[in-house]
């Protein structure tokens, strides 16, 4: 097991003091540390979009890929398909995943590829200093909408449930134990998992008080029941005031995209399959490494 301290990097942290991103960073580091007993640390790959959230890849000492604004999910899919043994975790912004690159999220959910997407949903474009995003509430006064938005936000979890996501959860950056638990379940889920994380942006949209008054942890909820999941997901529409549930809404066990690919490959050719390809590649890499030492 890798000690959590060994997951630190030398990069200077430039998030604003009090930013919710710190909770996400600490929670995921602790999850990676814990899981490193069963998953080799070199098999973790973290992928980010562009935004404040994206800096997280600089702050965790595992393999990482800093992608483009909106394109974290397809990059992660490519990584996973190339080597299905990797544990691929995406960190995306709400602007990133729900705006600029929304289509990728829907298709990743649809094909049930085994990656985890953690959305730092601060409901604002943080890095470009405070404009509205697809989850900003109606009337949100941001830098690009000084008179308030005229659009109603969408509920990303509702959208992802309809898109076929097989693990759907909501976290909050206040209350780190719950966040850790949700992240851990998401990372261990076999298939596409999404954690919409209410991440407070203290500089441009400080919702600590608002959320803290309304959040509660899901209890006695059957995560395998689609209808109950739908009802719970619809309880809060990201716009009107209502209780906000935290925890896992939905989970379904079904074949992943990679498994289906392997199956089809075997069906078609009867010979080559993905694990064989990977084994071959790993042999090659071993040889190269051996020749270097």
């Amino acid at each position: 097991m890798i000690d959590i301290k060994n997951l630190d990097t030398y990069a200077k942290n430039t998030w604003c003091p009090g930013c919710g991103n710190f909770s996400i960073l600490n929670s995921i580091k602790s999850v990676i540390s814990e899981l490193s007993g069963q998953i080799p640390i070199e098999n973790f790959v973290i992928v980010s979009g562009i935004g404040c959230h994206a800096k997280i890849v600089d702050y965790i000492n595992v393999n990482s890929f800093y992608s483009l604004h909106g394109r974290a999910v397809p990059a992660a899919e490519g990584i996973k398909i190339a080597n299905p043994r990797l544990k691929v975790i995406v960190f995306a912004g709400d602007g990133d995943a729900y705006g600029e690159g929304l289509e990728h999220l829907i298709f990743a959910a649809k094909r049930n590829i085994d990656i985890t997407v953690i959305v730092h949903n601060n409901r604002v474009y943080g890095l470009t200093v405070g404009q509205c995003t697809p989850t900003s509430p109606l009337g949100f006064k941001g830098k690009s909408t000084p008179a308030g938005t005229v659009e109603i936000p969408f509920n990303p979890l509702h959208l992802l449930l309809s898109s076929g996501a097989t693990f759907i959860a909501r976290g909050y950056t206040h209350g780190i134990d719950l966040l850790k638990d949700i992240f851990k379940q998401a990372v261990l889920h076999k298939g596409f998992s999404i954690v919409d994380t209410l991440q407070v942006c203290v500089s441009f949209y400080n919702m600590y008080d608002y959320y803290s008054k309304r959040v509660y942890t899901l209890k006695d909820h059957n995560i395998y029941d689609y209808q109950s999941a739908l009802n719970k997901i619809k309880e809060w529409d990201y716009n009107t005031d209502s209780p906000i549930s935290l925890g896992v809404f939905y989970k379904k066990e079904t074949a992943t995209f990679e498994e289906n690919i392997v199956k089809n490959k075997n069906d078609v050719s009867g010979q080559r399959n993905i694990s064989k390809i990977i084994n071959e590649r790993q042999e090659i890499i071993k040889k190269i490494l051996a020749s270097l030492t």
């Binding site: 890095l127 830098k143 690009s144 909408t145």
Partner: protein, 392 residues
């Protein structure tokens, strides 16, 4: 009376947009261009303009929305930078192919990868064959003046093409300069009314834009588009002269600086022209015959103007703030070569790639370029490409 104000290029772009008072602006934020539209959205909120402002979900959507709006015949503006411009790429061709006079502020910033937010010209250069007119600015004043002229150029019936006006990211977009801002009424008169064009909102005469155009007519439409770009060669200097006659600042395709009797010169675009002019002055004080050609308009490429300006020079250094990564040169170099090919007096040409990703360009760098050029003059031996200011 025009006002003398202290403003950044982003601020004057927003100011120009307010004065133009467009019908539609659709945009998506990106550093260092975010402010342009952000300041403008405050004008919208304060009721200072009649504009419908759409805070869309991506740049692809921003340009698409602008295309839709402009197709309805209304005045449409936007702004972006770097990855934003890259993401618009597909739609840039639609705007020019449909002959829609959209005007866009582009704040030059390096393209990923690796990610960088500072100035170079790779974003604009990446869009150089999209059929847009491209105008570069040396300073904040030019950014403002160019933006106003762009509306006239884009909307002229002989041209009818979209225009991007660029400014250098951070160097101009975020730096204050004393500029002259015209009165609102003066601007309104200069740009005139939005000219009538055939539009899809004309319910009496319905028609389709962007319809399937195969072997039968596609080529003719493309030929017409090329003609529009060619026509802009006549129009751009006329508008520049009219602007000068009215407001005292004259514009043409390029600005010759101490070129008349020069033996050695550099060609440059954007803000570094200012630094380079200082170096030219220093060398002139030392009695050296050096000069500079600042290229303002990259599309259309004013080949004749370039040929006339450079054919009597002995050695010319071309300054490219973007790399074509083609194992030959940056994007400006081949265009200059083409311009001079027909001339019997061919100067020796060398390409210098400089300032990528916001790498600072100091006077010493330009001095180095000139000393290289002097060396070439002396020895008669040249090379085609050198990188300036990089560790290698």
């Amino acid at each position: 009376m025009p006002q003398r104000l202290t403003k950044t290029a982003n601020e004057v772009f927003a100011e120009a947009m307010r004065q133009i008072n467009p019908d539609v602006v659709a945009a998506y934020p990106i550093t260092p261009a975010t402010e342009v539209v952000q300041i403008f959205s405050q004008f919208v909120a304060d009721g200072k303009v009649k504009t419908e402002f759409v805070a869309v979900e991506s740049e692809h959507s921003a340009m698409s929305a602008c295309i839709g709006a402009s197709a309805c015949g209304v005045r449409t503006l936007t702004g972006t930078s770097s990855q934003g411009l890259a993401y618009m790429w597909e739609m840039l061709y639609i705007a020019s192919g449909l002959r829609l006079p959209i005007v866009m502020a582009v704040v030059n910033r390096a393209l990923s990868s690796p990610i960088n937010i500072h100035c170079d010209h790779s974003d604009t250069m990446g869009a150089r064959d999209c059929g847009w007119i491209q105008i570069f600015s040396e300073n904040v004043q030019e950014s403002y003046d160019n933006f106003l002229q762009a509306v006239r150029i884009a909307e002229h019936q002989d041209v009818r093409l979209p225009v991007m006006v660029t400014t250098d990211g951070f160097i101009l977009s975020h730096c204050l300069e004393v500029v002259e801002v015209l009165e609102d009424e003066t601007v309104r008169k200069f740009i005139g009314e939005n000219p009538e064009r055939k539009s899809i909102l004309d319910v009496e005469n319905p028609f389709t834009l962007g319809a399937l155009d195969l072997q039968d007519y596609y080529f003719e439409h493309k030929r017409q588009q090329a003609e529009g770009m060619k026509n802009s060669l006549n129009l751009i200097p006329l508008i520049g002269k009219e602007f000068g006659d009215k407001f005292g600042r004259y514009y043409d395709f390029a600005e010759s600086y101490k070129l008349d009797d020069a033996e050695i010169a550099i060609v440059i675009m954007g803000s570094t022209a200012g630094t380079a002019k200082d170096v030219v002055d220093q060398l002139r004080d030392e009695g050296k015959k050096v000069g500079l050609l600042k290229l303002r308009v990259f599309r259309p490429f004013p080949a004749n103007v370039i040929q006339k300006a450079l054919e009597n020079i002995k050695v010319v250094g071309i300054m490219d703030r973007a790399d074509s990564v083609n194992a030959i040169s940056g994007p400006l170099y081949p265009e200059i070569c083409t311009s001079l090919y027909d001339s019997d007096k061919k100067p020796l040409l060398v390409d210098y790639i400089y300032g990528l990703g916001g790498r600072e360009v100091r006077e010493e760098d330009i001095q180095l370029v000139f000393s290289e050029l002097f060396n070439i003059l002396k020895t008669g031996k040249t090379y085609n490409l050198k990188y300036i200011g990089v560790r290698e």
